[in-house]
Symmetry: C2
Subunit: 240 residues, 2 copies
């Protein structure tokens, strides 16, 4: 249920592109045509098109039109795109997801943790370590730190289900921005102990800083992925 007009227009056009109603390399109807079609102003259309462009669906060509550059991809990989929960990602990729909590406690951020997490020294944090199974294989080892002040009442049961679901629906806090860093590291003894590494001696490590609607950092996470099911997608636009 999009509240804003531009959002529903964005979704409508996106759907048509994915259905190849607007095929790869074709030009969309002009902004004026879309304005008439959707019964809104040109600015509103442009807002929707800008969002599609940011998602790598279209690219505007001044004087010519807006070209579709979306191509459907094979669904073989575990694709990490925007911000979504483990469950959402698993469902989108048609995989059976299970979560096992292997550590649940509280810590006070020392100097080292404060520096790498972005929290302040002395902040009280939940420390949660979880193992994620996809189709029965232990593929992701998550180490989450949540600011207790902003995420009160966390329990192992919630951690086993979905912390994000709890944060958004129970606490009513909105997750807005996520800054991520992707690296590749040698496996640790901990990785070997818990994960199905399947011969790999490296893991993909995603480090994550998450901000809520007040612009406050409330989560720092390190996710260690077994390489087989790991895929990270991105669209970049060259600045002039």
């Amino acid at each position: 249920m999009p509240k804003a007009k531009y959002e529903s227009i964005f979704r409508s056009i996106k759907k048509k592109i994915e259905a190849q109603d607007y095929p790869y390399q074709s030009l969309l109807p002009s902004e004026n045509t879309l304005t008439a079609e959707y019964g809104c102003s040109r600015n509103t259309i442009r807002r929707a098109l800008a969002d599609l462009s940011a998602d790598g669906y279209v690219q505007a060509i001044q004087g010519k039109g807006v070209r579709v550059i979306y191509q459907p991809v094979g669904k073989t990989t575990f694709i990490i795109g925007g911000i979504e929960t483990f469950q959402e990602t698993a469902r989108r990729n048609n995989l059976r997801a299970v979560t096992r909590v292997i550590r649940f406690g509280t810590v006070s951020a020392d100097a080292k943790l404060a520096r790498e997490s972005g929290f302040s020294e002395g902040d009280e944090l939940w420390a949660v370590e979880r193992l994620r199974y996809l189709d029965g294989k232990a593929l992701i080892l998550d180490l989450n730190y949540f600011l207790k002040e902003l995420v009160p009442g966390l329990t192992p049961e919630i951690a086993q289900n979905s912390i994000y679901e709890y944060i958004e629906n129970q606490l009513g806090m909105q997750i807005v921005t996520s800054k991520r860093k992707m690296t590749v590291e040698h496996v640790t003894m901990r990785d070997e102990r818990w994960m199905d590494l399947d011969g790999y001696d490296c893991v993909a490590v995603v480090t994550n800083h998450t901000f809520n609607a007040d612009g406050l950092l409330f989560e720092y996470t390190q996710s260690r992925h077994q390489p087989d099911y790991f895929c990270f997608q991105d669209t970049a636009t060259r600045k002039k």
Copy 2:
């Protein structure tokens, strides 16, 4: 030289944030204040703020203000951000960069290459394989395919220098959108032969589809990175 007003405002505010003139967690001056400060309309300010938000510098809070969420990072890693050339990235990270061309030729896209590259079967392509040295170590193995029709006149000399520089300055073609996929793979015999793997048996693989200003795919690239110097950054925003 930014042509558009919103772009120079964007850069101006960005600089102030990086200089911690607007510190982490502080609120920017209100849109009305900035409007007066920069002598432009509110919409133009909002455009600049939207771009800063997309880059993970700020986050707007309705009714309150725009909060700075940028934190300076340690400069120890080779950070891949937007679209930039190997030289630009090396310079930004203060590293000495050398490129060695180990293969240079032309191929016609067969069914398999067409499928993974996004080119059409039968397209004539340049195939260039290059080894990238940073501070004397062979860390990146690049396999580029360029559409000959859109990138005529390529030579090994250009490949050893900078292909992007040639495309943008000599051919006058603009690079606009880059769609990337990041995975982790076992090293191949080719990797072992050419790269300084330093004990790693995995590499970070970045697969890249690049579009020009006409929205035409002209490049498909696979970059294989030795893990030590590899870091990929991203900012995501949760959709409502």
